[in-house]
Structures are given as structure tokens and as C-alpha cells.
Amino acid sequence: MSEAQHSRPAPGTVCLQVRDLTVTLADTGAAIVKGVSFELRAGKVFALVGESGSGKSVTSLAAMRLLPDALRISGGSVDVAGQDLFGLSEARMQEVRGRRVAMIFQNAMSALNPVQTVGKQVAETLQLHTRLRGAALRERVVALFREVGIPDPEQRFDFFPHQLSGGQQQRVMIAMALACEPDVLIADEPTTALDVTIQLQVLNLIRELTRSRQLAVLLITHDMGVVKNTADEVAVMYRGELIERASVEDFFQHPQQAYSQRLIDALPDLTQFREAAAEAPLLELQEVKVHFPIRRGLLQRVVDYTRAVDGVSLTIGRGETYALVGESGSGKSTLGRAVLNLEAIAGGQIRFRGEAIEGLGRNAMLPYRKQIQVIFQNPFSSMNPRMTVGDIIAEGMISLGLGLSEEARRERIQALLQRVQLGAEHANRYPHEFSGGQLQRIAIARALAVDPELIICDEPTSALDVSIRAEVLELLAELQREFGVSYLFITHDLSIVPGLAHKVGVMQRGKLVEQGTAEQILTAPAHPYTQELLAAVPRL
């Protein structure tokens, strides 16, 4: 174990210093990261915050000299223990990586080699940098697994990544990073792909290890909640530049930049709720079930069913927003599709304005299609890239036979675009010319085009950056006030519920475990699962 025993740096010493780091595109020379400087200290978590494309990940990769071929380091330096990493030869650099500076990545599932057992992958790091071999090596890996909280580490050693849950995968990544006791840990959005409850556990682990091992951690994230819970120091990155740097306390209390303020504002305010409007029920679900068959055996007979939605009952009133909250795989999206009659239901009833609409045929469903519309999660895939925005919005109007003349249609499209804060001239453009936020506005316009009474919003904001998320949510709320439309809002993120929903339902494994007004659920959750979800929500 001699390799592992090197002296830990004293708390607070600078372990990694970045000076004037500049990264440019190899072909055009455009700067992606412009003169960024900061330092990491032992035992402290330094959070680098910014939205997608701000250059925060590039900064971390550049520090490790792991940039893709298209990018080039064109200036600055990175010092680790007095050594300039940029001046080392590639061969020497390989000794630094994993040994002195380790890194964990965003999506553990794809960051782990899918065809190697996790144990071997962790062991490889040790093999590269220490002389451990054989049984001792295995023992060390198992010990690491135990340290990062992987249950049954002996067995898990021989598991492949896909056999582990998302949280466990990220723990393996952490174990791999920590294997050679590096001084510096760079964590690039380590929790983004995880469910909220798991997120919290992983962050706590990182936090703990920072203290116990005196690591200098660079935490890269877009989530202010994570920053607040984990970091000691914060830096905000915007378009390749560090625009603000402060300690966590200072930052949240006195942000210097307007942009920082916007980021902070995006955190939920668990004190303001919308009152449930006691309107007549628009949509009623009774004991709705959606089952997917499981086929097995020689003849592929149906032996069992996956109960994706298992007896859900809920009611949405006119002009009301119902937030359906749950983690991935809980069946919330399936329920949405069932309401749209895109999924056959195995039992129960769906009533729209008192009329049963479940199991209606394609044509019988048509009148209701006008009234129930949908907005999908991924704005990029929900628009046909080969159609202009105008055509996309017009499609529903044409196929649902609104009976508008071409002229009228064009005017309506322009009005809708303006209503969602886009220009009328955008009608002739193609989807790929827009940003995610803009596309989601177009999706809203498309849904509105046929004057629906109910819009099913299937995670409409989860693909968006926080600042844009707020804008879209605001727009939705405005439209509700204006047109009196109801929303079935499907989300995994409890934090956006306040200020949006009148009622909340929490789904777990196909069942609605708890429902009530937003205030009830967020202030006095009854079900343990709800409590767990709530605990993961960052607050100010």
C-alpha cells in the first residue's frame, strides 16, 4: 500500500491552479474559454456554474488535457503541485491523470466501459499507477466500493455497468476516481442524469469524501441547488468567461451580476402556492391501467404484464394545472399518452367533459383531438426538421378541419407566434434555426393553434437551461390565465411545482401514491416517498 500512502495536503493548500486558460476551436480559432483563472484548495469544493455552452466542461477537460481534436488549448497554464501540466509530454501526462488529478463524468452509464466489469475498470486505474496486482488489487477495489457505499461490493466487483443502478454507477465512477488517492477531483455534472433522490445521496458522498480525504474538488454543474448544498466556493461562467466568483454564502446573499441573480431566482420558492380553483371537472380518470405484455418462451406467449400505469384516478378541473410528479419509469408519461389515446388502456375510464373517450377509434377520437393537446419533452425531436414552423403549426388546423381559409390560417399562425413571444417572420424558418426555448414556445403555439381545453405537458422544461425554464413556465401560466386552458403537467422535478400547479399527484411504480393541493403536498407530505422527493429539493 506504499503508493497509496502519500502525505495528504494540509487543508486549504492550493492543489490545482488554473491561470488564464484559453481554449479555441482548432479550425476557426474562435475562443470557447477566454482567460479563465481559479484555484482548487484541499478539502474544499469549488463549484463552476453555468448553462450549457458556457464553457465550463471545456475548462475542466482542458485542465486534464482531454479536449477533443476540434478544440485546442491556446494559452494559460494549469499547475498541480508546482508542475505545469501543459508543459508535460503526453507520456508524463498519462501518469498525472488518475494519479494526481481524477475526474468523474456526467453520465456514468456511458462513461463506463459497457463490456468490462466495473471491478476491472476500477482495478485498471490501480494497475496503471500502482504495483498492486492479483488478490490485493481486488481487495483494494472492494474496499473502495465499500467506501463509496456500494452494497455487496464483493459481488458487485464482477457486475457489468448495465447491471447497476444509476446511483451505483456514479459511485463506481467515484471509486475509480479515488482509487489512487488523487489530490484533485474534477466532477463534471456528476448528478445530472440521476433521479432527484439519488442525486442527493451522491452529492453527500462527494461532500463527505472531500472532507475525509482532503480532496480539492472542482464541481461543474448548472444546478444552483447542487451548488448551494455542496460547494464552498462558486464561480459563474458565462460565454467562456468567469463573470463572478465568491464564497457560497456571499454568492447567494449578494450576487454581483444580474445573470447570477437570474440563476438564483430559478430556485423554487416553497412558500407561494396557487390555490386550487374549484372548477367543474374537465378530465376524470378512474382506475386507469396501462399494461405492457411480457412475452416469454418458445412461442412468445404473454406470461405477464408490466403494469406501467396501475389504477390511477384523478380529476382535473377547467383552467386548472395538475402536476404529475414521479421519477423516471414511474408511468407518468404513459398515463399522459393514455389520455391522448396514443396508448391502449387495459382498464378504467377516461372521461373528458363527462364523456368516456377511452378506446375510441381513430375517427371517433378526432373531435376530442381538438380539445386535448400535447407538448413533449424534447423540443428538437418534436418538430419535423423538414417542415417550416408555419407548416408545423398549421398541421393541426388542417387535419382537424378547423375550416379556415389559407389567409386566415396564416394570420392565426402569426398571431400565435407573437403570442408566444416570437416574431411573425419566424413562420418561414425551419426548426433547427431555433434554440430549445424557442422551439418549446413553438410547440406551445402548435398546441394552442386548435384551441384546446387541455394540454398535456410532458416534461416540457426538463431539456432547457434553468433561466429559460422559468420563461417557458411563466408563458404557460400566462396562457392559462388568458385562455382558461387546463394542464396536465408531467414532471420529475418537484421544485418547479410551486407557482405552477394547483394540484399535485405523486406517482411511483405506476400508482398514484399521494395527491392533493400543491400546498398540501409540498408542506405536509404524507407518503414517505413524497417526503424523500421533497427532501431532495434545494431551497434558498
Binding site: 501543459f86 509530454s89 507520456a91
Partner: protein
């Protein structure tokens, strides 16, 4: 690091070389032939392009197949190896058949009278003719056949003939010849000879009818059934009775169809389960000839070995004029065969065949085809002084054996065609114009390297009725100029065309251009030859259209007469003008006989047909020659065929092969071949020294390709993030 790598490469190359070299020490690297057993003088040859399909003498009817059959079987009659014109000799029997003539009642009559209804051929088997050693003749202690199974499982361990440990033999009996003829008649065998021979051999048809309905389960002993025209007089004597007079029958007796078949051999191959392992008479011929088959792998080779029981047979002591001078009698009087073993390897690609021949791995360029006409045409040129070899071949000492088969290839007119057919003078002129326009000499020069003789008549050289010199030319197409035939001028052809009503190739009445249609077999024609023909006829303003089709479709067209100009060929079965002139005999037209007749031109001229009927039964002689001459004249007058040529095959022989004279008809010439093994070894060694430097060059190239990679990798490892 680099130097270490280079050292490694060198060592690897050396090791590889060391591994390869010992394997190559026993001869040139590129020797494609398997080692032949020591002590056996082996003749290396080739079968090309396809292996034989049938080796049952009753079934086979292809030159490639009789190449093997005629070494293994001995039919009653044969040909003299050297003498020309071809001379018939007794082969399996002691003497020429004794022919007696009878009337309808079976009483002997004078051969020259009208009363002759039957001819009886009596022959006596040679006393020393014995079958090759074969398991079918093996007997157990009780004298019963050793290998006779009732259960398919019993003989399962035998997969080929060499698997049978016990062999036997016996003398050839007269009954074996009778048995063979009965096999021809057995409809189950579907012999190609049945339909034809049944016209002549008495009782064959009835015999065939009778056997049609008998139950078939395994072997049918044909000895139980009687054929009227067959009589086994004693152990060694048998008689065949044929209808009327048919002088050509003796020739047929020289073909493999009439080879003796031992009934016990037939019985042997009908053992249950043998068929499934390809143990059949069709695959393993058993005969009394000079060689026997020891291996038959149609996918790679057929091996013949000397038959130890072969009768006493000697190299002829006299030959045709000039043979002695050319050393062809050097082996006169030697006991045959002169080699111990012959290997025929399958060779489909001509390039390989040619290369291996030049490298000395094949003793001859081919067996049943010289392979020279189209493929090796570069090997030689036919000049004024005969065949001239190319430089490389001459240097190798390769010898040339030309072979003019009794065969003719021709393009015929359909005489019933509304445009080109008919017997009016105008139509004749039209056809003659086309005949003149088709410059056969140039055609042969370009596409056959001059290896063919333009046909002046349907009768090829070497056959009675072929006339050489000025008297032999077709006066409608050729003039005799300066001692050689000269094709008439294009102007003359145009003139004829105009007289026929097509001035400048345009119909005098409508102005429509004359277009002729040629049916060709799609596999047998190249675009270059089509281009050539376009130009040839273009000279007299005639346009050509081709109608290519595969063989089945072409055949159908011929049978239905749905053709204008067609291509065809005929390889004679025996050296008699009758076998050629029947190609123009009216009743042979498919349209008349409603059969697969040979007169595809549907030429019908009563005078010709009458002459043919007379000529057919006449013995050779001046009377017959006169009839033949008149028939040829009629053919020329009516211009029945567009053109024809007698194919000439050139066989090339490596210098160590002797007795290379080709026999146009008989195939049983392998026994005369002599090999100078010592010369062969020496020459092969000499001609096949490998060129080594490319090996080094390739290794160097490989290293040169690797180098930049290694250098770049090292550079990358040394790189820093700063430029």
C-alpha cells in the same frame, strides 16, 4: 526501439523463410502436381474444361468422355494408329467380322441381290483378352462373388473402388459383348444409341419394349431376356444380325458403345447403397483395355494405371508415308502401353492451363481439345510454311501436332425461309452473293488464327469424297488463281445481289434494305466477331441482325425451323462421306421427320435424296465416289450453307513427349505415348526458378508503411500542450 523492431522483422522473415524452404526442397515451388508414386512413369495431362459426366459406355456420347472410355474398354474394332486414310482393324476380336447375308426367311443369299434382308456379323473374342483386376470378379472360397450384399449397411465401409481389398479377373467372354448390346437396348439406361441402333439391330426395339414394363428393384439380369439379333455361339463367338445392308456398321463397332460389359460387374454396382456413394458403372468403368481407372475425382483429377492383365499388344511397325522419316516408328514393335500411369487434372481456367503447360507441368496442351485455337492462339501462327511456333515455345522445344477432325462447322441457310430460302435461280444468286461476302479465310485468320480450312464441300479432308486442288473448289464462290483458290470479288457478289433483285442491298421493288437474321448461341459468339460480320456483309450493303439465344432455345428454333441463318457443327462418328452427306438428306429435316434431325437447313432436293439412298448401301468404290461428287455439286449449286470450315486443332507437346501423332477419330492412343522422364525433370527445374526479390521488396514496403506510423506515435507521446 526502431532498431529492435527492425531486428525482429528480419528474424521473422528468416524464420518464415526457413519454414518454407525445406518444404520446397523437392522441386520447384510452383509445382501444382501431386507427387506421383515412385517408380511409375506418369503422364501428366489435363481434362478441360469440364470433367466427364458419364463413363458408362452405354450412356456416354461425348469426346471428353471417350478419351477415358477408350483407354479402359476395348470395343470389337479399332483403327490403325498411324495409317491414313483411316484404317479399320480388329481390336477386341480376333479378326474382321465375318459378314453373311440372308433373305427375309433367314436363308443365305448373294450380297448383291435385292433379296438381302439381313446381314449377320460374326466375331470371335481374342483369347488373351482379360478384364482388369476388379472386386466385382473377386470370388470367395465357394466360388461365389465375394462382394454381394443384400443390406445397404453391409457395404458401407467401401466408398471407392480402391477400398475393396480383394480383386479378381477373368477372360472376356462373347456373352459380355451381347450383354453390352442389351444394355444399350435397356430403356432404363436411356442410352443415346437406342433410338438409332434400334433401326438396324434386329430385335432391339422389341427387346426394349419388353423391358419397359418389368419390375425394377436393383439389378435386372439382362441375360434372362433374349434379343433376336444377338446370338452367343460359344464362349468366344457371337453374332449380331442387322436389318438389310449397312456397310457402316463396322465403323460403329469401333465405338465404345459396343465394348464388352461383364454382367457380374453390372451386378456388383447394383449392390444396395452403392449408388448413393457414386459406386456405379457410370463412374467406375471396368474393361479389358490397356488402362484401368484407379481414381475418379471429378472435382480434381482422374487417374489411370496400366492394366496388368492387358493382352499382348505392340506398337505398329508400319505407318503412313513419311511417318518413318519423322521418327514415328522409333518404338515399333515395343509392348504397349509405354507408360504406367496417366493423371488427368481438371483445369477450367485457360490461363492456368496455358501457364502450367509452359512451365512443364502438363505434358500436353490438351487431350480432346488442343486448347490452342482461341486461347493459345498466340502460341503460333500458321504461315505459308505451315505452323510457326512463337519464340518462347520454340525455345522450349515444344512440338506441334495438328489434328484435322472429321468435322465441319457451318452457318446454314434455312431453305424454307421466305427471303433467303427456295430453289429459284434468284435465290441461289442471293445466297451465293452472301457466301462470297463472308470472307471465310479472313474470319478463320482472325478468330481461329488460321486454324481451319474453308469448306468447299460438306466433306472434310481424310474422308473419301474430299477432293483436293482445283477440282475440289466450289466454283460458285472461288476461282482457281495461281495454284490456289481465290474468293470471288465483292464486285461479283454485288453483281449477283443485283441479279437476285437487291441492287446495293436494297429491294429493287420497295427500296427496303436487305436485312438478314443470324441465330447465334449466346455463349459461342463474341461481340468482336459480330462486329466483323457486320462489316463483312456491310461491304455488299446487307445489314445483319443477331438473335442470340442459349443452347436450348437455339435447338428449339432449329427443330421448328424458326430461323433464317443458323450455326451448327457436326463431328462425324466414323470416316465415311455418308456421315456428312446425311446432313443435307431431305427426310433428315426436323420439319419432315418431326424429330431431332440433322438436316437443319431443311434442304430438300429429290435428286439429292435419291442419290443419298443409293450411296448409303454401296461399298466404297468409284461408283460410290461418283454419286458423292454429284451430291456435292448439287450442294454447291443450291448454296445451302453460308459458309463452313473444317476445324483444325493444334496440339502442343512438351519435348519429352513422344508419339504425338493425332488420330482424328480414335481416342485409344494413350497406350502409344512415351515419356522421357529424365528430360522432363531437368526442364521443369530449369523453367521454374522462382524470382525471389519481390518477397524482399514486399517486406521492405511493409516496413516502409509501418515506419511513419511508429514515428508519428512517438512524436505524439512526446507532445506537450504548448505549440
Amino acid at each position: 526501439m526502431l532498431s529492435r523492431f527492425a531486428a525482429l522483422c528480419t528474424r521473422a522473415t528468416l524464420l518464415l523463410g526457413a519454414a518454407l524452404l525445406p518444404g520446397c526442397s523437392d522441386g520447384p515451388w510452383n509445382n501444382p502436381n501431386p507427387e506421383s508414386p515412385p517408380g511409375l512413369l506418369t503422364y501428366q495431362s489435363v481434362m478441360s474444361p469440364l470433367p466427364p459426366k458419364h463413363l458408362d459406355p452405354a450412356l456416354s456420347y461425348a469426346a471428353d468422355e471417350s478419351l477415358f472410355l477408350m483407354q479402359i474398354y476395348e470395343p470389337p474394332m479399332g483403327y490403325h494408329y498411324l495409317k491414313r486414310p483411316y484404317e479399320l482393324l480388329p481390336l477386341g476380336v480376333e479378326d474382321f467380322p465375318l459378314i453373311s447375308y440372308t433373305n427375309a426367311a433367314g436363308e443365305p443369299v448373294d450380297p448383291d441381290t435385292e433379296a438381302v434382308a439381313f446381314s449377320v456379323y460374326e466375331m470371335t473374342v481374342r483369347a488373351d483378352a482379360r478384364y482388369q483386376p476388379h472386386p466385382a470378379f473377386a470370388l470367395d472360397d465357394q466360388g461365389n462373388p465375394r462382394y454381394r450384399f443384400t443390406d445397404p449397411a453391409a457395404g458401407r465401409q467401401y466408398r471407392q473402388i480402391s477400398d475393396f481389398p480383394e480383386l479378381g479377373s477373368r477372360p472376356v467372354a462373347a456373352n459380355d459383348y451381347a450383354y453390352a448390346i442389351k444394355r444399350l437396348a435397356d430403356p432404363f439406361n436411356a442410352s443415346p444409341m437406342l433410338g438409332f441402333m434400334a433401326q438396324y439391330i434386329v430385335g432391339m426395339e422389341a427387346f426394349s419394349e419388353r423391358l419397359k414394363d418389368i419390375p425394377r428393384d436393383g439389378w435386372v439380369n439382362l441375360d434372362q431376356y433374349r434379343m433376336d439379333g444377338l446370338e452367343v455361339v460359344d464362349e468366344r463367338t457371337f453374332r449380331i444380325t442387322i436389318k438389310g445392308r449397312y456397310p457402316q456398321f463396322s465403323y460403329w463397332l469401333a465405338m465404345h458403345f459396343f465394348s464388352p460389359i461383364a454382367p457380374e460387374v453390372d451386378r456388383f454396382f447394383h449392390n444396395p447403397g452403392f449408388l448413393d456413394r457414386n459406386l456405379t458403372l457410370d463412374w467406375w468403368p471396368v474393361g479389358s483395355g490397356p488402362f484401368m481407372m484407379v481414381k475418379n475425382d471429378p472435382n480434381s483429377e482422374i487417374v489411370l494405371e496400366r492394366n496388368p492383365n492387358f493382352r499382348e499388344d505392340y506398337f505398329p511397325t508400319e505407318g503412313a508415308p513419311g511417318d518413318a522419316e519423322q521418327g514415328r516408328l522409333a518404338d515399333a514393335g515395343k509392348r504397349l502401353p509405354l507408360i504406367d500411369r496417366a493423371v488427368f487434372r481438371l483445369e477450367k481456367e485457360v490461363l492456368s492451363l496455358w501457364t502450367k503447360f509452359l512451365q512443364g507441368y502438363y505434358d500436353r496442351s490438351g487431350e480432346s481439345h488442343g486448347n490452342t485455337n482461341r486461347v493459345f492462339d498466340q502460341a503460333f501462327v500458321v504461315g505459308p510454311d505451315g505452323v510457326e511456333l512463337g519464340a518462347e515455345l520454340a525455345e522450349h522445344g515444344i512440338t506441334v501436332a495438328p489434328d484435322v477432325k472429321p468435322a465441319i462447322y457451318y452457318y446454314g441457310f434455312n431453305m424454307r425461309d421466305p427471303v433467303l430460302g427456295g430453289y429459284s435461280e434468284e435465290r441461289r444468286k442471293l445466297r451465293r452473293a452472301l457466301q462470297i461476302a463472308f470472307d471465310t479465310e479472313e474470319y478463320l485468320n482472325i478468330f481461329y488464327k488460321g486454324n481451319g480450312i474453308p469448306a468447299q464441300s460438306p466433306i472434310p479432308p481424310g474422308i473419301p469424297g474430299f477432293v483436293e486442288g482445283e477440282a475440289g473448289i466450289n466454283p460458285y464462290v472461288y476461282d482457281w488463281v495461281d495454284g490456289a483458290p481465290q474468293r470471288k470479288s465483292i464486285a461479283h457478289a454485288k453483281q449477283l445481289l443485283a441479279e437476285a433483285g437487291y441492287p446495293n442491298g436494297r429491294d429493287a421493288r420497295t427500296g427496303e434494305p436487305l436485312k438478314i437474321f443470324i441465330d447465334v448461341q449466346s455463349q459461342a459468339i463474341s461481340s468482336t466477331s459480330m462486329n466483323w460480320m457486320d462489316r463483312a456483309f456491310g461491304r455488299i450493303g446487307v445489314q445483319v441482325e443477331y438473335r442470340p439465344a442459349d443452347w436450348n432455345r437455339t435447338r428449339e428454333k432449329l427443330l421448328t425451323g424458326n430461323t433464317q441463318i443458323f450455326s451448327h457443327g457436326w463431328l462425324a462418328d466414323y470416316p465415311d462421306p455418308e456421315n456428312f452427306l446425311f446432313l443435307l438428306y431431305g427426310p433428315e429435316s426436323p420439319l419432315i421427320c418431326q424429330c431431332d434431325g440433322a438436316n437443319n437447313a431443311s434442304y430438300e432436293r429429290p435428286e439429292y435424296d435419291e442419290l443419298f439412298r443409293q450411296m448409303r448401301v454401296l461399298p466404297p468404290g468409284t461408283e460410290r465416289d461418283a454419286l458423292v461428287a454429284r451430291m456435292v455439286e448439287l450442294y454447291r449449286e443450291d448454296a445451302v450453307w453460308l459458309f463452313g470450315y473444317y476445324p483444325k486443332d493444334i496440339y502442343l507437346n512438351n519435348p519429352w513427349v513422344h508419339n504425338n501423332k493425332r488420330h482424328g477419330i480414335s481416342k485409344n492412343t494413350l497406350k502409344y505415348v512415351r515419356i522421357d522422364d529424365e528430360l522432363r525433370e531437368r526442364k521443369r527445374e530449369e523453367w521454374n526458378q522462382p524470382v525471389i526479390w519481390p518477397l524482399y521488396a514486399m517486406s521492405a514496403l511493409l516496413i516502409a508503411l509501418l515506419l511513419p506510423g511508429v514515428i508519428a506515435y512517438r512524436r505524439r507521446l512526446r507532445a506537450t500542450a504548448r505549440q
